[in-house]
Amino acid sequence: MSRKLALRDALREAMVEEMRRDETVFLMGEEVAAYNGAYKVSKGMLDEFGPKRVIDTPIAELGFTGIGVGAAMNGLRPIVEFMTWNFAILAFDQIVNNAAKTLSQSAGNFSCPIVFRGPSGAAGQLAQQHSQTFESWMANVPGLKVISCVHPADAKGLLKSAIRDENPVCVMESELLYGYQDEVPEGEYLVPIGKAAVRREGTDVTLVTFNKMIFPALEAADELAKEGISAEVIDLRTIRPLDHQTIVNSVKKTNRIVVIDESWPFAGVSSEIAYVVQKYAFDYLDAPVTRVNAADTSLPYASTLVDAYMPDAARIVKAVKEVRYMKA
């Protein structure tokens, strides 16, 4: 049995179920309690769990993230919400220098089971500081796991896995898609960290993507189908550890790959995938690995510049035609 849930409701269901199951889980962040969440992800949670476990913080990202890390080292399982990942940058010291390194530098004396979550990526005309995508930054750090997904069922199942994980896990959501509804199974539902999902099977080209770029990728696949090109669409869901096998198996079948990644191109998730594919599917490739990223610039406010910056279905179709050596 399943029912439709919005992304925000699926995320909430994951947190609520885990908090009912495990007393040590608590939620902390700006506006998560009395205001019911800046994007209403934590709506009603203060009512159910009270202020001991659903905690409004001042605007002090570095401080409350560090408090989360300390609490995690001392037996609790914090969920730290960032209003957006843009503001988590203030806390990268605690995430990178401490959460990620606790196990290593204490040689296993202490673990740091903590979840850092919030929306990532551009959300319209919000300008330079509010539009960034940090999956590749976080995924660069050994010690962290990184999830980035928007399908409500995945979000629920992966967030539950993240809360139960003994390692620090970053969960990247999407402001624009909190209202996006889709089927979520009833009852206990876990999705394993580190497994990609094939959203659409195909034979002629592999499209690999994650987070909200799944939508332009699927739209491009529809467009391509009209021209007789069958695209396989892979939703990574987890960025670290990266599911090499699903990507490589698909490329062995299609012999062509386009990576769609909202982040900047330099040393991004798309570059990592390009490395993996040339290393493990070199003999199967009929065209260079190609990618569609956001522009290699900051994102300004004006609508024309947002359009010029963001990957979209038209650009994906164009890239596919390139790897199929077709005229655009």
């Binding site: 001042p58 605007i59 509010h130 522009a295 610039t297 004006a302 510049l305």
Partner: protein, 336 residues
Amino acid sequence: METAKAGVKKINKSTYLEWFELMLKIRRFEERALMLYGQQKIRGFLHVYIGQEAVAAGMESALRREDAIVTGYRQHGTAIGRGADTAACMAELYGKATGIVKGKGGSMHFFSAAHRYFGGNGIVGAQIPIGTGIAFAEKYKGTDNLCVTMFGDGAARQGALHESFNMAMSWQLPVLYVCENNGYAMGTSVGRTSNIQEIYKLGLAYDMPSEPVDGMNPEAVHKAVTKAAEHIRAGKGPYFLEIRTYRYKGHSVSDPAKYRTKEEVEEYKEKDPIKVIEQTILSKKYASEADLQVIKDKIKAEMDYAVEFAEQSPLPDPSELFTDNYVEPDYPFITD
């Protein structure tokens, strides 16, 4: 001390009229912006200053044009106070190429080097050390300019405030910290963020002269800023003013502001700085109703022009995406 006083105006009839005009201009600009947001002419975030205009007015009359200002994202009033052109500001909200930053910044990010306006910052509290650094540069260059570093009550809880206060005091930097305490950081009242609710007291831990100021009254702001600026220009180091004000609207257009009572909002509207100054001007006979009407008409015409200008201006060409990222015009961007 002679030079310290130069440039600081005495309060007289014309000061009152200037305050009235500036505050009304800011108010009308933002009322238009809210309306245009409803029509989807303006997108993204829009945080208005309505209710807080006396801070900009009282500050500007007490400062010199060479002094610098840096603030957060609730910044239309601050920029207009600096003298930024309202048509360029409106075009910016529209994301047009003629905007104050070519349509690249939008509501949160006006900047104007010509006005010594170091911008609206979207990361809460980021401008506290930045303003401290702007002041550092003034001291380094040997000027007697200061930098007004403005931030909200919510921003006052960032650790960067303490690091900045400490360095500014120990290096005696010419910085005027101004906390615009409007009672709320989004949905969180000041009372829920700390056991120290009188924010000015945060400066006292560093032996920084620190005071609360009535931010609904431009004269009170002017006097406090004048005194602080004299102290700073005399080389005595930083000063901290907690200016107590109020925002009438929600945090941004998407906030229904259910966390406070209608009575509370009404109570502040009773003390509305524009309403009060209008009454004062009339009762002190600084101007007649007809004189004030002339100012109102002038502002209305200015706003009509600003909207018309924004409407008629072109959107930036998509190639503008690649300008202003690096100083070099031929920087090798990654394009595939």
